[in-house]
């Protein structure tokens, strides 16, 4: 599917550099789950990813904002695969 760039833009990535608001708020993390499996997520601060270990999917956090679209999920530990799984959802 053709996807408009709803995710991070160069502007946002520039503003994220060095910003104290770039880290996800822990209180918010407690309220989030994987949009596909509805299971809790693990926050990888270094990679700025919210990870569903069960599915092996990572969702980006940009400037403190979690991007939890299923389309934004990135398959981890698989080379060369940028877009995430759709899990049969159209």
């Amino acid at each position: 599917m053709c996807q408009a760039a709803a995710g991070s833009t160069p502007q946002q990535q520039q503003s994220a550099a060095g910003s104290t608001a770039a880290v996800l708020d822990e209180a918010l993390l407690a309220k989030l789950v994987c949009p596909l499996a509805k299971t809790p997520l693990r926050y990888d601060v270094e990679e700025q990813l919210l990870i569903n270990d069960e599915l092996g999917v990572g969702y980006p956090v940009v400037n403190g904002v979690p991007y939890l679209m299923p389309m934004r999920g990135r398959m981890l530990h698989q080379e060369g695969q940028e877009e995430g799984q759709q899990a049969g959802h159209s």
Partner: protein, 312 residues
């Protein structure tokens, strides 16, 4: 970013041009066309899979001028409508609220302020408050209620709208109790029964699968939780309808062209309003998702309506 065109061919679709049907007739009130491969995009018909991206482009284009355009298009009326929405919601201390498709934060900020006002009142009158609470589990229950602070989550599929919202929050000095999450209303990244309330203001008509969004709303609400939807609806009075149509189709896109330099996006916005089901049909769709005690209130002669439903 390449401008996505409605004539872009998809792998399994026939060549460009044959997908798009310019129809002057309104689509049916039921979601009959949602089971097919095409769906409305304003008055156009587009492949279903494309709608999300097309709508995304519209809002990325309008994000920076969204609030000004709201004032211009509605003559400031949108403020009254949102005020009425939040008044109906009646936020309370400790409320966990989700505002969907609320990117620039208009409704979310109002809800947050109302929650904080309620919490302030509670703090100033602790003796009266504690005396009214049942003493069944005195220590634990009161401790929990005292500690939980209200929280508003702003949820939107569009990153540009969220960014505008964050800037507005900073400008208004709002930070504590406000969270920003990007995602799809059809697949909410929140656990079951975690929210006291859910609002969606002028956003649900842009969702491709509205039934899925309603079901997700029902899922994340606690028992007793409330859905409130503020959306453009159908004007029934004939004369008002004519004036409204003339204004919408002749004036609004032109303002969009002059102020936002984007007539096409505002043409879409105006058309998408006409494609949305009428008050009763929308109420039925909300019931279909499991909500009870579904009612609606017309504002400004039906130009907008606030629909309400409860998870019971």
């Amino acid at each position: 970013m390449r401008l996505l065109s409605t004539t872009d061919p998809l792998p399994h679709q026939p060549p460009a041009g044959s997908n798009i049907i310019n129809s002057s007739s309104r689509s049916s009130d039921t979601n009959a066309e949602d089971t097919e491969d095409v769906i409305d995009f304003g008055f156009k018909t587009v492949p279903r899979q494309q709608k999300e991206a097309l709508v995304g482009q519209v809002f990325s284009n309008v994000a920076s001028s969204y609030d000004i355009m709201n004032d211009l298009m509605s003559g400031g009326l949108h403020r009254l409508w949102k005020h009425r929405l939040v008044e109906t919601l009646a936020p309370f201390a400790g409320m966990q609220h989700l505002d969907v498709a609320g990117g620039t934060g208009d409704v979310a900020f109002r809800v947050l302020r109302a929650i904080q006002t309620a919490e302030q009142i509670d703090r100033q009158q602790p003796q009266q408050w504690q005396a009214q609470q049942p003493q069944q589990q005195p220590g634990q229950q009161q401790q929990q209620q005292q500690q939980q602070q209200g929280a508003v989550t702003v949820f939107d599929i569009n990153a540009e709208m969220l960014e505008v919202g964050k800037q507005r929050a900073r400008a208004q000095g709002l930070a504590t109790g406000l969270s920003w999450v990007q995602g799809n209303a059809e697949q909410l990244p929140f656990p079951d029964a975690c929210m006291d309330s859910y609002t969606v203001a002028f956003g649900i008509r842009n969702v491709t699968d509205r039934h899925a969004a309603l079901c997700e709303a029902h899922r994340v609400l606690r028992r007793g939780g409330r859905l409130l939807c503020l959306e453009f609806s159908q004007v029934s009075l004939p004369l008002l309808r004519q004036v409204y149509d003339a204004y919408s189709f002749n004036v609004i896109p032109k303002i969009g062209g002059l102020v936002a330099h984007d007539e096409a996006s505002y043409q879409y916005l105006v058309e998408s309003i006409r494609q949305f089901p009428d008050q009763e049909s929308w109420a039925d769709q909300i019931r279909d998702a499991g909500f009870k005690a579904v009612t609606y209130e017309n504002l400004t002669g039906g130009v907008v309506a606030i629909h309400s439903g409860f998870k019971l």
